[in-house]
């Protein structure tokens, strides 16, 4: 193997490549050869380091120097100065004071940088089997100090000054506990260490005992001296064999050195420690139960008082402290109580260790100052949520604690602040949960745990938690009833007030806190029989189908693709979704995020498979083969021909109602026609699908502006029996930045719409698009295609927070759109009334906002200018409801208010959905609203309210087993072809090319067929029952 003097890492992530890092790589390579350094310097192209807006990025080892935004000129200097002469080029290297975010240093990652190791200072540093190494790190000097210089009262006073509170859970001040015990009458006293760590999800005590056992022994000896004890016990769970081994070795060594035993350090103090092994009972973490267990009995708690400080182990005064608390005592005595108290918040001092696990990138142990925000722990130290999933909540404090949802990420680590949110600090177990976690199921899990661990001594805990568990079981099985939530709350409060010990009193916490923060999820399980996270398996056939807003039988049509029955597959899709060609291209595919195949390798490319079926249908006109319903029902008016209106109209027609859609523009399709560029959604696809919808009995009247040309009242006069309003959001959100009135500013939505309807649209040479949503990306890519030489995308947060679809962002960057992340426009400056430059400021991410995202804040002194001749603001849309709704329909914040299950507005017979109700602004959710509304309108008009559901049975899909080998091997998804980047400029030809038959068959064969053998769960039917019950 070659030996190199230096290593140069060039970032090869998408962002850096777009910024020219490949050229940089080649240039370094050439320069290295020039200086004959290629044998000495190892040049490596690395993966993305996540700070794309600093790109191209170059890092040189062994110095770990980080050069950002390098260009050909700087490369020449860096190679000559740094790599040849060994001098770091300071002015080109990253300067933290510029406030451009943190530079990455490979091998020493943020996870460590943001921690403050006080209690854990020795863990992972010293050899835990060597007492000498512990002594070298100042070990046992605190004990020496206590015995040599301090009275027991002075020790307690110092601990009191530090303000340390018990780290085991309840947070009782340690000094106070010691003082009570010291003052208690009795010649024999005990100090005990609680190493039972029963809270599943917490393992800091294990790590402390394994990594630094002497710190705990020293802490116990100091405590023993303070309270006047000569015997200590460590109660450690049997599940921790290595901890017990390390502890045993440490005790032997300490005895050998005379640091345990008689006359310690020649100061006349006797103290010894024995290890007691726990035998597996959660309740033994409770102090009175633990003491019973050490006495060799059943570990059942007893009522307090008397407190153990008065009558504990064998009825003698006893102090029980947790491992972390005891492990911190030596450093407090060494550095002083004041020093310790200088860290943390007013009532929670010092540092706290957390075990961070679950859906978070960096799993492990984290020690931070009290007062650090929960968001900092999860995002900065924990590295955020893996796989781009959304953070949902963090369970704090284990089965006795509660959950903290996204809107409270700013909560500081503080006993009282956390308690206010209905959780507890507990021992510090943090289990991070993402969108794939069901909160009802989580609550059930914890309750099941406590139920199982309840010792049975008191009825509230033994029977009460059982009753609660029964209710939760029912809810998770889809048998929840109205009133269940209230009953859970009532029982929970009762148990809290009447249970005997801490275990019982806190047992209802997980249930109560999930109800408090996620009541909607409980309601959704009970009312809709829907589990948003697709966890509660009794509620659905397959997670994709359950997650699809329109309830598409995904595994069904994938099975039919495998069988080569494409017409049948189309018919199956059309039973739920009249726009498969549209959705096959632009759907945000929530189904794929829950695909079980994704847990193995990659989710099925459901969207492209659907597109394959839809494209085939156009070729062979599959739509003509579907049976039409006779239009014998009542006429219905639909306002707006976007995806929501089209879907509602289609289902109403299939249920026999003649429908008229009123559309303001001359083209039908709403945003599908004028918002989404043609290179993503070709016109002929949309046209075929709209024509198909019409052929079922839907008439579209273009050029009618309801509200101006005709009112809703007049529609009723004309004989319509019900109205569905789905007019979307047609106005661009106004940007308040100065200079937005200059010529050359073109709002994104107007820009896209004007271009699509054929207006003359003039594009500048240098364009700046402001925003991070799909409209911004569409506008940027359209501008490039229309001949802009340079398109800059200005977004105030980072790429991770961008609301636009990931694949769209990726493609935009490949096409040459230049992203400016963490950048916000301050003003547009003009010359002669025309846009000339955009003045921006760098941003940095600050606190967390209500959505759980970090709020961007400007960095002072980082203003810079981008030369532009066109600015496209695209930061959001708003409704335009003038004259449309009247005063009978409630509007809030510009959005129409509807019942979330029935889509009914306050006006009888008028329903609404899509973007205009201001909820989920995606095509497929707009369609779901339309589908729900159609069913409810049908019921309103005297029908059954039941969508057709016969195709799956007709083709007997449930009987077709999964194809292929029994053993499933890892295999990534089939990649569809894309138009080469070079062919895209000036062209609006579709970029994605879809699957051919072979690719589709291969991709379909990856499906795991979660639906197989689950025929009796038609979720649509269940959903209907609910609506009826309301």
């Amino acid at each position: 193997m070659k030996r190199y003097r230096s290593t140069a890492l060039v970032c090869g992530g998408t962002g850096c490549v777009a910024a020219g890092s490949l050229n940089i790589y080649e240039q370094i390579f050439r320069e290295l050869r020039k200086y004959r350094l290629e044998e000495e310097v190892n040049l490596v192209l690395t993966g993305c380091n996540g700070i794309c807006d600093q790109g191209p990025v170059l890092v040189i080892y062994p110095e770990g120097t980080f050069y950002n935004r390098v260009d050909p000129a700087s490369i020449s200097r860096i190679v000559e100065e740094h790599l040849l002469k060994g001098r770091i080029v300071k002015e080109l290297s990253y300067d933290r004071s510029k406030g451009e975010g943190q530079p990455p240093v490979f091998g020493e990652i943020d996870f460590f940088r943001m921690q403050h190791k006080v209690t854990r200072a020795n863990c992972g540093v010293i050899d835990p089997r060597s007492i000498d190494e512990y002594i070298t790190m100042d070990g046992y000097s605190a004990l020496a100090k206590a015995l040599n210089e301090m009275t027991p009262d002075e020790v307690i006073a110092e601990v009191k000054k530090s303000g340390i509170r018990g780290r085991g859970g309840a947070g009782f001040p340690t000094a106070l506990k010691w003082q009570f015990c010291r003052q208690a009458a009795g010649d024999q006293k005990y100090i005990m260490c609680n190493a039972d760590e029963g809270d599943p999800g917490a393992f800091m005590d294990r790590s402390q005992l394994e990594g630094d056992p002497h710190s705990v022994l020293e802490g116990m000896a100091i405590g023993a001296y303070a309270i006047g004890s000569n015997m200590g016990y460590v109660y450690c769970r049997a599940e921790y064999p290595l901890a017990i081994e390390m502890l045993g070795t440490a005790i032997d060594q300490a005895r050998e050195y005379g640091l345990l035993g008689k006359d310690i350090l020649g100061k006349g103090f006797d103290f010894d420690i024995e290890i007691m092994m726990g035998a597996g009972a959660f309740v033994c973490g409770e102090e009175t139960a633990l003491m019973r267990s050490v006495e060799g009995k059943r570990g059942e708690p007893r009522p307090r008082p008397p407190f153990p400080a008065i009558a504990g182990l064998w009825e003698k005064p006893t102090v029980l402290n947790n491992v972390e608390t005891l492990g911190t005592i030596p450093v407090i005595l060494r550095k002083g109580g004041d020093w310790y108290a200088s860290m943390g918040t007013e009532k929670s001092k010092g540092t706290k260790i957390f075990s961070l696990t679950g859906a978070v990138n960096n799993n492990g142990l984290v020690e931070v100052d009290m007062g650090t925000s929960m968001g900092t722990i999860i995002y900065d130290i924990g590295g955020g949520i893996p796989k781009g999933k959304k953070f949902k909540a963090v369970q704090c404090g284990g089965p006795s604690g509660g959950c903290i949802p996204a809107q409270h990420l700013n909560v500081p680590i503080d006993y009282d602040a956390i308690a206010e949110l209905g959780a507890i600090m507990g021992s510090g177990g943090l289990v991070v949960m993402d969108e794939d976690t069901c909160m009802v199921d989580t609550a059930r899990y914890f309750l099941d745990f406590v139920q199982d661990e309840s010792c049975g001594k008191c009825p509230p805990c033994r029977i009460g938690t059982k009753r609660m568990l029964e209710i939760l079981d029912r809810i998770c099985e889809g048998k929840g009833e109205n009133g269940d939530i209230e009953e859970l709350e009532r029982l929970g409060e009762l148990i809290k007030q009447t249970a005997l010990c801490g275990l019982g009193q806190t047992a209802p916490n997980p249930v109560l806190s999930t109800i408090r923060h996620f009541r909607e999820e409980y309601e959704s399980h009970i009312v809709e029989k829907r589990c948003k996270a697709a966890v509660c398996g009794s509620l659905f056939r397959a997670p994709c189908e359950h997650t699809c807003p329109v309830g598409l039988d995904v595994s069904g049509y994938i099975t039919l693709i495998s069988e080569g029955k494409l017409d049948d597959a189309y018919e199956l899709i059309m039973e739920r979704n009249p726009l498969p060609g549209v959705c096959g291209r632009v759907c945000t595919h929530p189904c794929e995020s829950k695909c079980r195949r994704g847990q193995l390798d990659e989710s099925i490319d459901i969207r492209t498979l659907k597109r394959f079926i839809a494209d085939n249908a156009i070729k062979s006109d599959s739509a003509a083969k579907i049976e039409r319903t006779a239009l014998t029902g009542e006429p219905v008016a639909v306002i707006g021909s976007g995806p929501s209106g089209l879907t509602a109209a289609y289902f109403l027609a299939r249920m026999g109602h003649p429908v008229t859609i009123f559309e303001k523009l001359d083209v039908a399709g709403g945003m599908l026609a004028v918002g989404i560029p043609k290179y993503r959604l070709p016109e002929d696809i949309l046209k075929y699908e709209i024509d198909t919808i019409k052929s079922f009995g839907v008439e579209i009247k273009n050029g009618v502006d309801v509200g101006r040309d005709v009112t809703v009242d007049e529609l009723y006069d004309k004989g319509f029996k019900a109205v569905y309003i789905s007019v979307g959001t047609q106005g661009s959100y106004q940007v308040k930045t100065p200079g937005m009135d200059l010529s050359g500013v073109y709002p994104g939505l107007d820009f896209l719409r004007d271009f699509r309807v054929g207006k003359k649209v003039k594009v500048g040479k240098k364009v700046a698009v402001i925003g991070g949503g799909n409209t911004a990306i569409d506008a940027a890519r359209t501008a490039l295609r229309l001949g802009a030489e340079e398109v800059n995308l200005i977004y105030r947060r980072t790429r991770e927070e961008m609301p636009a679809a990931d694949e769209e962002i990726e493609e935009a960057m490949r096409e040459g759109v230049r992203p400016y992340f963490l950048t916000d426009p301050i003003k547009v400056e003009g010359a002669k009334g025309k846009v000339a430059k955009l003045v921006c400021t760098r941003m940095t991410l600050g606190d967390f906002d209500k959505s759980g995202r970090r709020r961007p804040v400007p960095v002072a002194g980082t203003e810079f200018e981008i030369e532009v001749d066109m600015v496209i603001p695209a930061i959001g849309q708003q409704t335009e409801l003038d004259g449309l709704v009247g005063d009978k329909i409630r509007v809030d914040g510009g959005y129409i208010m509807v019942d979330k299950y029935t889509m009914a507005t306050d006006r009888e017979g008028v329903f609404s959905g899509g973007d205009v109700i201001g909820q989920e602004a995606t095509v497929v959710w707009a369609m779901r609203n339309g589908q729900r509304a159609a069913a409810e309108i049908d019921r309103h008009l005297g029908g059954s309210g039941r969508l057709p559901e016969a195709v799956r049975a007709k083709f007997n899909i449930g009987a077709i087993p999964r194809q292929g080998e029994e053993e499933i091997v890892e295999e990534p998804r089939v990649k569809q072809n894309c138009l080469p980047v070079g062919d895209r400029k000036g062209s609006f030809v579709e970029t994605e090319l879809g699957f051919d038959a072979a690719m589709a068959a291969k991709e379909a064969s990856r499906c795991l067929r979660c639906d197989y053998g689950k025929e009796d769960l038609p979720f649509q039917k269940q959903e209907l029952e609910i609506a009826k019950g309301k």
Binding site: T7, Y61, E108, P128, A144, D212, L242
Partner: protein, 126 residues
């Protein structure tokens, strides 16, 4: 050993500090620490330690080998820290016995960081 006095404690500390190179410099040029907490062992740290011991013995290297507890980032285990005199400590994550051999070759013998195994920001491979 006989019982320690407070003065003995100080002596052990001084001697240890000198040996660990914190003040003096008697310590070996290269120190390798394998982190062997429960998480490390569960992830295969024993195999890594064996590979390290064997490589050092086979190549007759003058390297200080030590073990320690968990440094906290358990999902990157097994973790190995390499400390070369006068250089910053380098941490490797998800080390396999084969990777350990490469690290010995490249970093311990050759002085070049084995960047392939460096602990990086995200545990997921892109």
């Amino acid at each position: 050993m006989a019982k320690l006095s407070i003065e003995d404690l100080q002596k052990i500390k001084d001697k240890g500090r000198a040996a660990a190179g914190m003040r003096g410099s008697e310590h070996k040029d290269v120190r390798v620490v394998v982190h062997m907490g429960t998480c490390g062992i569960a992830s295969g740290a024993r195999g890594v330690m064996n590979a390290l011991l064997k490589a050092v013995e086979d190549k007759n290297l003058d390297v200080e080998i030590s073990q320690s507890g968990c440094i906290g980032i358990c999902d990157r285990e097994p973790i190995v820290s390499v400390i070369r005199k006068n250089e910053p400590m380098i941490r490797y994550g998800k080390v396999t016995p084969a990777a350990m051999e490469e690290i010995v070759e490249s970093h311990i013998i050759g002085g070049a960081v084995a960047e392939k195994y460096l602990m990086i920001e995200t545990s997921e491979k892109k």
